[in-house]
């Protein structure tokens, strides 16, 4: 979904609406993209399927042939890909944004909130009647106990990521063993590993409450990804810059003249062959023009997509801080921005964040904790396996609704309100933090759509990085594996138990996706959507019951 819009080369900020549901046939998607990009002009396949060094047009060819050829070249130049996989940012709104076009069913969104509010009010009234207090937040101590220590640690953790900046300046400055491709990448990886293990272990060492630890760990993971993206993209750019500088004295140095630019591969058709043209020998173009174009390509790589920043200019503390606050995990030299901060929007979003957290607290207080407290001793007393599993099943069924609500609230609070608030603060224009995951038909689609920042990070820094050496399915499995590990880590933080249920369930999705892609169920959107939601609802409450009780 992130490819739904091309970055406007001039950086114009007309807001893009989220797409409606995906067409069932991928070829449809492609044609739509093509027509959007407007290069299905004269029927010639302009997708860059031919090699770059196109057959030169003879001098005596009719003018129409010349025109076609130059048009092709222009379009190719427009679609020139960077060698480092890029994330296309554009000014976009999310589905639930007030400016979104999708207002057909807004009433039901309002109903959702009113339902939650009324649920809270009745719960509070009932508490008043029974205990005399509207709310007895037993979890309150969970929130307050380690708050100062946690805040301090968090600030330190974030600050410590900034070490990447001087480290990078070191890689860039050094010509020998410390340059990025030799020692730099090793040093950076070591640093990140140490950094990650230290900060993950820190809360265990200090025995924080689970809320503080979960918050810290999630923030830690986000910061880790940010730092990784920053370091590796900048490292790559430093290498590119080095090559560009080397080209200034082409005779003296043995600079690699391998071609840089990749052409857009059709991502939507998995069966089509990849059209990477790296290193393809050019037969027809003269050597000088080869050098020229290589220089151009390298310079293009060093320039931001919007064309206002070039590589070494960005290595400032201010830029790094700005990047830390931007709601994205992929470092780019420049992002599309809005004109200014809308303070009312910011206020509403912050209010919504606290409102959602309050609602979640009430829900768990009223509907989750009592169930678990009631079931735990019964399960301990149960003798036979069947009795235990019955109690477990009952617990799961009672947790279905609360977890559904909590899941939706977590989604909304993170992806609509927290990220939206940060986007508002930093004037970040691309608000597409999620796509229509609720229409998903399988788990892969869901994981692509429900968390677009992390998805972009994985696609850019894990999947594409492993694609260099590995085949497509293996790269997918690796991506999934890493993601499952991260989720298991969060579960460990919450429950302080190492069980691996979550890991197992996530890895189980792979064969399930294979089954869903088989002919039998493929294309049955409604059925697959029902199955997806069933697994989602059941899975969440099952995870909770299993981790807490077993």
């Amino acid at each position: 979904m992130s490819t739904s819009a091309e970055v406007r080369p001039n950086g114009s900020v007309d807001l893009l609406q989220p797409k409606p549901r995906k067409p069932v046939i991928p070829s449809l998607l492609r044609t739509r993209n093509d027509s959007e990009e407007g290069h299905s002009s004269n029927g010639t396949p302009a997708s860059g399927a031919s090699s770059r060094g196109a057959t030169p047009v003879p001098e005596d060819a009719p003018p129409s042939a010349h025109a076609t050829s130059s048009a092709r070249q222009q379009i190719r130049a427009f679609h020139k890909r960077r060698i480092f996989p890029t994330v296309e940012y554009a000014a976009r709104v999310s589905h639930f944004d007030p400016n979104s076009d999708y207002t057909d069913f807004r009433g039901f969104f309002v109903l959702f909130w009113i339902g939650l509010a009324i649920m809270c009010i009745t719960a509070m009234l009932r508490n008043m009647k029974e205990t005399g207090y509207p709310l007895t937040i037993r979890q309150w101590s969970l929130f307050t106990e380690n708050i100062w220590e946690m805040g301090l640690s968090d600030a330190l953790m974030v600050a410590s990521t900034a070490i990447s900046l001087p480290l990078h300046k070191m890689y860039m400055g050094s010509a020998g063993a410390l340059r990025w491709r030799r020692g730099g990448i090793v040093i950076q990886s070591l640093f990140q590993a140490v950094w990650l293990s230290f900060w993950v272990y820190w809360p265990f060492l200090r025995t924080w409450t689970w809320t503080a630890q979960v918050f810290f760990t999630l923030h830690l993971l986000a910061m880790f990804m940010k730092m990784h993206s920053y370091a590796f993209y900048s490292g790559h750019l430093s290498e590119v810059r080095r090559r560009l500088m080397a080209l200034d004295e082409p005779e003296t140095t043995s600079a690699s003249r391998a071609k840089l630019v990749r052409y857009p591969s059709t991502r939507t058709l998995p069966t089509s062959p990849t059209k990477e043209q790296i290193g393809e020998a050019t037969k027809t173009e003269p050597a000088k023009s080869d050098l020229e174009s290589l220089r151009e390509d390298l310079a293009f790589e060093l320039t931001s997509p919007l064309g206002r920043v070039t590589y070494p200019q960005n290595l400032t503390l201010y830029n790094y801080l700005d990047y830390l606050f931007c709601p994205t995990l992929c470092y780019e030299l420049e992002y599309p921005r809005t004109k200014g901060i809308q303070w009312m929007e910011l206020f509403y979003k912050s209010l919504a964040v606290f409102g959602c957290i309050f609602l979640m607290t009430v829900t768990s207080e009223e509907f989750v904790i009592p169930v678990l407290e009631e079931s735990a001793p019964r399960l301990q007393r149960s003798q036979t396996f069947s009795e235990g599993s019955l109690i477990l099943a009952e617990t799961i069924s009672r947790l279905l609704f609360p977890f559904m609500v909590i899941f939706l609230l977590v989604f909304l609070v993170i992806f609509e309100y927290v990220l939206g608030a940060f986007a508002e603060i930093t004037c970040f224009a691309d608000r597409q933090f999620y796509a229509d995951w609720w229409n998903s038909t399988d788990w892969l689609e869901f994981s692509r759509e429900w968390n677009i920042p992390v998805h972009n990070f994985f696609r850019r820094h894990v999947y594409s990085a492993s694609r260099a050496n590995l085949s497509r399915p293996v790269a997918t499995v690796i991506t999934f594996f890493i993601s499952a590990l991260a989720h298991e880590l969060v579960m460990i933080c919450i429950t302080k138990k190492f069980r691996g249920y979550g890991f197992f369930a996530m890895m189980l999705q792979m064969p399930i996706v294979m089954v869903q892609r088989s002919k039998l169920v493929r294309g049955r959107t409604l059925l697959n959507n029902v199955l997806f939601w069933c697994s989602m609802i059941l899975g969440l409450s099952m995870m909770c019951a299993l981790y807490v009780l077993v």
Partner: protein, 689 residues
């Protein structure tokens, strides 16, 4: 469409009098026909008509006619496809406005809508009294119109002309348009299939299934069986199920009285405007009273009662619409017959004098255009027709008509051209009458008197609409899979509703009953009120949503599919409503259309009330009916719902103030809170007090 209708709601009172012919103008009665005060003392206007018209003036050569037609818009190519009508209505507002004349009296939609005859003041005679007296001189006749209707016709001719003359922008009462469309939650609707929030619809149903599973597990634990206690089922199916079916059949059969009445009216035993509408109203009152009385007499459980009462009200509205539309058409039919007779008389009166003067070319042109328009217009709707006919005829004839009117007023004799114009006016009137008699029908085969058949009536009884028309857009075939799917959905939803009421609603209700029987004081019971309310909030909201879904999405769609009814606009996007009037318009479109046509517009034309008053009357009647249903349900008259509904009127005007206008989300929030809390609040009130 809503914007369109709002934009076109006319200001009726502005043009009630006609400036061009002040002495002839008078009040406009509710069928859109003016009731003229004959303020000229004698009332008889004698006209000296020099008779010299050629008999063949009316029928002229068709080739000339075609050439004229081709200059104008070509309606021959236009099929009476409702989509086209809608598009035309949307697409060319300016033209539409020009089509409508300056006064409501001649507006097509007006006459079409206002078919009520109740409390009609004008006593219209069905025969026209136009006397042609031979004067002393040969070839000169004296036309005496001692009937207001003749003036009326003349007046309308003037109005047509005035409209063309002034080209005034004027809105016209919009007719209820039937199109081909799907409901929002229908899977056939492409907009729904591509909706970005489709997944949440799935989630809703999955949550309901999850709820059913939970209830089943609870029942199993408590009672040892999945179904648990079955108080609701027992209540619903314990007794009188067969009697209920028979009653419903009898109610349905009894509606055929309306057909009989219309037949009698057609045959002339009764007159709709005199006795017909009174009989119809009495019959309707008796019908409703009998239905309600029977439910009370049998002491049925509330489920039986509510079903019979609501169904009888549906039948009542159907009968009302059928009777009043056909009654109106019957009066038109009589008038047309009388006019035709008169026209024949006029033609016969033509002098057979050999020296018929040569027809002037302009005259010939008028005549040809007249015939052309009448033939072409059979394929267009009446709006276009009127515009066309007037455009062709009266534009060129303007001075003629004016002179006829002037002659009529002043009592001068008519010359040849004026006499001719007079005839043309009558012809135009006949044409417009037959066009109205055809209504929405595409062919003469379905025009007024031919629709009074049993098959048409049975068809109408089954159609999922409450507004009678001679013809509706239909689809070609029945998709039986769709019928099966929706039928299954109907029964599934009803099952879910029964489970919800048994599991979540029955316990608090039983508790209130127990408290009352135990003699708990009202004060103590009121203390329980918030808890009962809280218990019922969520289940009642679900029940409400499901009831709405079952009726407006499932049942009506099944009916529509079975009858090939193509217009599935049973509801609008009421969940996005920002005010209560929007909700009232959107959530129940069939009844809304009925109220719009038979209450709102009828009251405007019948009692000459302002729009605001008409809205209030509509709200009031609706509130009365709702209170009646509540009274049947709880067997007490408390008026809570009535009060709350009438409170909506000031609330609506509040929502139009600056404070709330334009705040869509806030308005929607207020609306949902009302919808959420309202039903449970009412139910608790009725149960506890």
């Amino acid at each position: 469409m809503e914007e369109l209708s709002q934009a076109q709601r006319p200001s009726l009172h502005a043009n009630d009098t006609l400036d061009r012919a002040p002495r002839l103008a008078g009040q406009i009665s509710r069928d859109g026909i003016a009731n003229l005060d004959i303020d000229k003392a004698n009332g008889n206007i004698s006209l000296d008509v020099p008779i010299g018209t050629t008999p063949d003036a009316g029928s002229s050569n068709p080739s000339a006619a075609e050439s004229i037609v081709s200059d104008d818009e070509d309606y021959d190519t236009m099929k009476i496809d409702p989509d086209v009508l809608v598009r035309a209505a949307k697409g060319i507002p300016g033209r539409q406005a020009s089509a409508s004349s300056s006064s409501s009296a001649s507006a097509a939609g007006d006459e079409k809508q206002q078919q009520n005859g109740d409390a009609r003041k004008t006593e219209k005679s069905s025969s026209l009294q136009v006397r042609l007296e031979k004067t002393g001189r040969r070839g000169r006749y004296k036309l005496t119109a001692d009937d207001p209707q003749i003036r009326d016709i003349i007046r309308r001719g003037l109005e047509r002309e005035a409209a063309l003359d002034s080209r005034k922008q004027r809105s016209r009462l919009r007719d209820i348009i039937f199109t081909r469309q799907f409901t929002t939650f229908d899977r056939q609707n492409p907009a729904t299939a591509d909706s970005p929030f489709f997944g949440f619809f799935t989630l809703f149903w999955l949550c309901l299934i999850g709820m059913l599973v939970r209830v089943a597990m609870y029942n199993w634990k408590m009672y040892g069986s999945v179904v648990g206690k079955q108080d609701m089922v027992k209540m619903m199916f314990d007794r009188d199920v067969l009697v209920l079916g028979l009653t419903d059949g009898a109610l349905c059969g009894a509606t055929a009285v309306g057909l009989g009445l219309q037949k009698l009216i057609l045959k002339g035993y009764l007159d709709w405007n005199r006795s017909g509408w009174i009989i119809q109203n009495i019959w309707q009152a008796v019908y409703l009273a009998a239905a309600i009385g029977f439910t009370q007499y049998r002491e049925w459980p509330w489920t039986h009662t509510i079903f019979v009462v609501l169904h009888s009200m549906v039948f009542l509205m159907k009968q009302h619409s059928y009777a009043f539309y056909n009654g109106y058409l019957s009066s038109l039919f009589k008038r047309r017959n009388a006019l035709e007779e008169k026209l024949d008389q006029l033609e016969d009166m033509e002098p057979d004098s050999a020296a018929s003067p040569p027809v002037s070319p302009t005259l010939r042109k008028q005549d040809t255009s007249m015939t052309t328009s009448s033939s072409v217009d059979q394929k267009t709707n009446d709006v276009h027709r009127r515009r066309r006919s007037s455009g062709h005829h009266f534009f060129s004839e303007k001075s003629e008509v004016a002179s006829v009117a002037a002659a009529l007023e002043s009592g001068r004799s008519l010359d040849l051209n004026q006499m001719h114009a007079f005839k043309e006016i009558i012809k135009a009137e006949i044409d417009s009458l037959s066009e109205e008699l055809k209504g929405k029908a595409t062919s003469e085969a379905n025009a007024y008197p031919k629709n009074l058949t049993l098959s048409n009536f049975a068809d109408w009884t089954c159609l999922p609409t409450l507004v009678y028309e001679l013809e509706y857009p239909r689809q070609d075939k029945i998709n039986w899979w769709y019928v099966v799917e929706k039928t299954a959905a109907t029964f599934g939803c009803i099952g879910v509703m029964m489970v919800i009421s048994q599991a979540y609603l029955y316990p608090p209700m039983a508790e209130t009953v127990r408290m009352k029987e135990a003699g708990v004081t009202i004060h103590q019971r009121m203390e329980e009120f918030p808890w009962i309310l809280g218990d019922m909030l969520f289940p009642l909201l679900l029940e409400q949503l499901l009831t709405w879904y079952v009726i407006w999405e499932c049942v009506l769609n099944v009916l529509a599919e079975l009858t090939c009814f193509a217009d599935r606009g049973f509801y609008g996007a009421w969940w996005n409503s920002v005010s209560w009037d929007e909700y009232a318009r959107d959530w129940n479109r069939p009844v809304h259309n009925f109220l719009l046509r038979h209450v709102y517009r009828s009251s405007i034309s019948a009692f000459h009330v302002s729009k605001g008053t008409a809205t209030f009357i509509t709200f009031f009647i609706s509130a009365c009916v709702h209170e009646l249903v509540m009274a049947c349900l709880f067997r007490k008259v408390r008026g809570y719902l009535f009060t709350m509904q009438l409170l909506q009127v000031p609330l609506v005007s509040l929502s139009r103030t600056k404070l709330l206008k334009g705040r869509v989300i806030l308005g929607n929030v207020i609306f949902w809170i009302g919808l959420f809390v309202g039903p449970s609040f009412l139910t608790s009130l009725y149960l506890i007090l």
